[in-house]
Symmetry: C2
Subunit: 400 residues, 2 copies
């Protein structure tokens, strides 16, 4: 009498949140300083001062406009600001009438799937990928096709080519990647674009590339994140301010449809229709105005770089095998036993909380969210050392 | 290649917003004081001071928790506060674990339809009803069955009985009603409950009653809004703080599943699953905390009563035939010609902006949103008088 798919998603525990809840409980029992919680991607760096300042200023506005409805795709002034920002940063001819302000990147993805997918069609995602991709796809009666990564955790583009079919409607990329921190390179994007374009010609219908990029600003060592819309025309950018402005709970981001897409305005209309069907009236009005003022700001991203270096180097020295993360605030580590869940349970006994890669479609790994204070990382290293010794890992030099 | 239904909703203009946009343009052309805009249900009364005060206080909290993720169904403390509030006000055994905090009432309805409907199933709504009910239903492959009202614009329960079928999964009620302001009476709810319960027994499956009640606090003359969950067990309450706290742009409300529902926890799980599929991660975190503090407050509702009396009495005196609104901030008026859209166009020429009842599944009427300043109503009456005279209406006394 109910959809088994949707009911299943309701009963399915969110593994990360379960582990985090256990962490909260443990902290109360034994003291917060004795629990090393790397489970959740909740920013540890405060929002930039601009956020609080802007909220205070906005409170002097007329309450009925400040908290009133905005047009469904967002305040016109904010849509213009976003378009201009993208034009300036990426040299893209983004049009404000193709920008749709969302309640965050998850909302953007759900809306894209509602807009683009028909039952029986396929969505391709590169493992490791964010769990919810499956919900957004299967909730619409689509099928998620997972492409396993290369040995170095890069998207396997040859495997992509073999996974494409007549039924492929959408390909999702996530750059920088959650959970691996890998950035899609210029070279990969060129190859990806060529493969997809050839498939479009072969099958005679568009294949939409949805680029999920909430971690775009979280990159280190001067790394650049190439802009997907500069490589492929049938592309939609899905962005969120959750991480760059440290406000994931406020739910604000946008979708930008490439103006180079042949049927851009039709796809934009489908996005608007999908937004209505999902029950999105408008993105939170106060926060829309905050973004307009703070669009050029970020939280102190350097704090994450300090954490990345501390954790990556620490684990490498102990002999753990980690993917070097160029961006985001996650580290994806190969587990010293094949069963990542067993490793997680063992770590949990030491009050060290990490998430099995199985949640991201990639067994044999764990994700460590290093959006914590550097002290947590420092204090956790002896526990990692204990585990490394138990597993008989061989310490290495700190070159990484 | 795309869903015709969703694409259609994207291209379909929102009639109210179109008229409002015309109003904004006209105001710029001829002066705001010469346009009488009754098109939009955007509260005209500011949020109570508690909202601004609470936001200012909250800004002293740690930024990463204030703006951080909350659990998907809402902050535990807010869910408890909402449950307690409903227990105290309605004597209902509401359980906090059956409260799901939403991004407003539209989100709540969309989530309910995703949770409850299978393709081919039917949703019954009583005309006049909020346009988006159709989108939430048809977007899920369901069929919306509209039950026309009685002569006095009350829900026609005999017509409901005739509309129920094996396929009926959900019945939506909206009390007080947008656009008529009608409150579902104790008597109607008893009868409705009996009809639905009999149908459940006849068809051997539950029929869920979804009670959409964002206008619950907007009632006048000491009117009470009977609580639907006290009449029918398989019921879900859909609430929003948009109108009671004058913050429709902030998108915050809740779903409360009746604890008397036999499969309450299964339905709650389906709601959680549907929330994930629609892309709702959590309701805006700052606003969740605002609601926790301001749950007992409302905007100055009396302002709407002043408007209601002014407009209703004014129109009656001129000879217009109006439904007396006990609640909400809308007045539903019979048009003096059968074609409501023609009447709207005629009024528009006089810079008087009203919405045709066709948008609510009820031709022959127009909706006037009287969430405006009383001066707008006063200044509009000569224009209504002019129209009344052109249509040859007979002025009446002011008894109403």
């Amino acid at each position: 009498m109910l959809s088994e798919t949707i009911l299943g998603f309701g009963f399915k525990k969110n593994c990360m949140r379960e582990i985090a809840a256990y962490g909260t409980k443990r902290k109360a029992e034994i003291g917060a300083d004795k629990v090393f919680d790397f489970s959740l991607g909740n920013p540890s760096v405060p929002a930039p001062p601009c956020v609080e300042e802007t909220i205070r200023e906005l409170l002097s506005l007329d309450s009925t406009s400040l908290h009133g409805y905005t047009p469904a795709p967002g305040l016109p002034s904010l849509r213009r600001t976003i378009a201009k920002n993208l034009q300036e940063r990426f040299g893209l001819p983004i049009r404000d009438d193709l920008v749709y302000v969302t309640c965050g990147a998850a909302a953007g993805l759900a809306i894209c799937m509602h807009a683009l997918l028909l039952p029986g069609e396929e969505v391709i995602a590169f493992a490791p990928f964010f769990t919810e991709y499956r919900m957004f796809t299967e909730g619409m009666g689509g099928t998620l096709v997972s492409v396993p990564p290369t040995e170095s955790l890069q998207p396997d583009l040859d495997a992509l080519a073999a996974s494409l079919s007549e039924k492929t409607k959408v390909v999702i990329v996530n750059t920088p990647n959650n959970p691996s921190g890998v950035i899609l390179s210029d070279e990969s994007l060129k190859k990806l674009s060529g493969i997809l374009h050839a498939a479009e010609l072969r099958y005679g219908h568009p294949i939409y590339l949805v680029s999920d990029e909430p971690y775009r600003e979280l990159v280190y060592d001067g790394q650049q994140v190439p802009c997907v819309l500069n490589y492929y025309d049938n592309a939609i950018m899905d962005y969120s301010y959750s991480k760059s402005l440290s406000m994931p709970g406020e739910r604000i981001g946008y979708l930008a449809v490439s103006p180079r897409m042949e049927d851009a305005s039709t796809i934009f209309a489908a996005i608007c229709g999908a937004g209505r069907v999902c029950g999105f009236v408008n993105a939170p009005s106060l926060m829309q105005r905050v973004i307009e003022k703070c669009i050029d700001k970020t939280s102190d991203i350097n704090m994450y770089k300090i954490n990345r270096d501390l954790l990556y180097n620490g684990l490498k020295e102990l002999g753990f095998d980690c993917v070097y993360p160029d961006g985001a605030f996650y580290l994806f580590m190969k587990t010293p036993e094949p069963d990542a869940e067993a490793f997680c349970r063992r770590a949990m006994k030491e009050n060290l909380l990490v998430v099995p890669g199985d949640s991201f479609g990639t067994p044999g790994y764990v994700r460590l969210a290093y959006c914590v204070s550097p002290e947590v990382i420092e204090r956790s290293l002896p526990t990692f050392k204990k585990l490394a010794e138990e597993y008989g890992l061989k310490p290495t030099s700190s070159e990484g």
